[in-house]
Amino acid sequence: MALKIQAGGLLTTVQDQGRTTTQDSGFSVSGVMDFDAANVANLLVGNELDAAVLESSLQGPTLTFTQDGHFAVTGATAQMTLNDRPIDGYRAYFAHRGDQLSIGHYTAGRFGYLAITGGIQVPVVMGSRSTSLKYQLGGYRGRQLQAGDVLTTVRDTAAQHQFQQAVTYPYSQQAVTTIRVTPGPQYQDFTAQTRQELTHQGFAISQQSDRMGARLQGHALDTSKVTEMLSEGTVLGGVQVPRDGQPIVLLADRQTTGGYPVIAVVARVDLPKLVQLTPGQQVQFQWIDLAQSQTLYSKNYGSTAAIKAAHQFQTQISSIREPAQRIATLFNN
């Protein structure tokens, strides 16, 4: 199967689970921002979870299939058409050679995903197919997609199937979204009052948020008691507090090391919710302990593995309802 891009959208890149083996040499991890949505997209078309997908920000691409095969679109909500006929997200479809898929502006959520059976075939660079925009490496020629680009995938040999819609839009469209956090490595360096201030107010998602980090705006947190740090390794979802007191949640394209204190880390299961928020929406942090957070995570991880195991489907059209229901359990956190 192959794809020809007609219009690249605003920021469409090839991403997978990220480039984790070279972060100890200073190379950013990258990878999909919303791994729940990307996982579901891959599961729907029968892929391994590490298969590369297309990620778009704010607006999806328009493209033509140059071979037959299955695809699924997940993540942010948009008007989507296959040859001008409306289609749903979170559902597998079979495209014929010459079919045109068009994904419009996102009306809810920020990052959308397109998975194709077999995954997007770009060269593996340092263990990953993810695009590093900063270093112009990996993905498709190290850059975002544009009209005329042709992406290859593997030949789709699965019989045609159409999964039930797995879930309806799972992300918050509310003005305020609760995001759970666990204490970060510098938690003890902040005063009890500052630790309270983090959860006793809402923070707005700033316009400056990007794949590197979600920049938040609120009543400034007091960092005056925090001693100067030596740089240390960063983690996904780390809530660092620079001198101006406005927190930044570190995301996929974060630098590998940082010198700002990390007061908290976003619970894994809440990261997809967070990255899908758009500027102006508010975050309300809530402290939970690590054991609680890891229990939530293990449940999510277990469900994903179970779906995967139950999902060695090729032709079982009769059982399509079941995986759809199982995928829905991913979001019951």
């Binding site: 040499s25 270093y135 204490p183 490595p185 740089s231 390794g233 979802g237």
Partner: protein
């Protein structure tokens, strides 16, 4: 003896093994040793490492190893490390040409140090520098061990472009730019090596805990290496720790 440390959780999938807040050879060695030890043990559920000045971030999959079991594994590895502590380190030789064309700030450094340019080159290429951390750019090494007399403040106005391979000084640090980047370091030389080779099995020549030695080369040697880069073998030695000529 095991240095004092704490194991601090950093979210669902990582802990920071955190040593005393200082830049020291002993802490750096302990971190490198711990990473080696855990790598050798091939612990189920440990997915990666990220060493820094005084921390080793250990990534793990909580579905495969519990936090409690991970902590016990790290404690044991640290306890065992003094028995298995290797007394050898890796020294990586980086050829550097200090010719004027590649060294726009050599004069500034010499003036500041009240030395001749030749003396600056001698002193810069004499010690073995320890890699405390890699970060900021891919393969950018925070090196310790610069002769204090060569310490020079950063440029007042950073350059917009520094060529890859440039070797410079900033305050009491020295380092190399693996890729083109803006920067305010005082540039005193350049290596013909490609310090970042993303297409290679080994994209970097060195890692945290290794020592770097700058070997002075002439302009002719620089050109020769550039012309035969694919065949160039970077000289790497395993030497006794006592043999290392660490400056600071």
């Amino acid at each position: 003896m095991v240095l004092a440390y704490q194991i601090l959780p950093a979210g669902d999938k990582a802990v920071n093994v955190t040593f005393e807040r200082q830049v020291s050879v002993a802490i750096n060695h302990q971190i490198a040793q711990l990473q080696r030890q855990l790598t050798q043990l091939a612990v189920q559920g440990i997915t990666g490492f990220l060493p820094a000045f005084r921390t080793l971030t250990v990534f793990y999959e909580p579905a495969q190893i519990s936090l409690k079991a991970l902590k016990a594994t790290i404690d044991k590895a640290l306890l065992d490390s003094h028995q298995t502590a290797s007394s050898t380190v890796r020294r990586v030789h980086i050829p550097v040409c200090y010719d004027a064309e590649f060294a726009p700030d050599l004069k500034t450094v010499a003036t500041k140090a009240q030395l001749t340019e030749k003396q600056v080159i001698e002193r810069h290429s004499q010690p073995d520098y320890l890699i405390y951390m890699l970060g900021f750019l891919p393969g950018f090494a925070y090196l310790g061990g610069l002769d204090p007399q060569l310490a020079t403040p950063r440029l007042a106005t950073p350059r917009l472009k520094i060529a890859p391979g440039s070797v410079g000084i900033a305050g009491e640090q020295t380092g190399m730019y693996p890729i083109e980047s803006p920067g305010g370091w005082q540039i005193i030389g350049r290596t013909p090596l490609r310090l970042f080779q993303p297409e290679s099995e080994q994209p970097f020549y060195y890692q945290t805990g290794d020592y770097i030695h700058f070997d002075v080369i002439s302009r002719a040697e620089y050109d020769h290496i550039t012309a035969h880069l694919a065949d160039y073998q970077v000289q790497t030695e395993t030497v006794a720790e006592t043999e290392v000529q660490y400056g600071a």
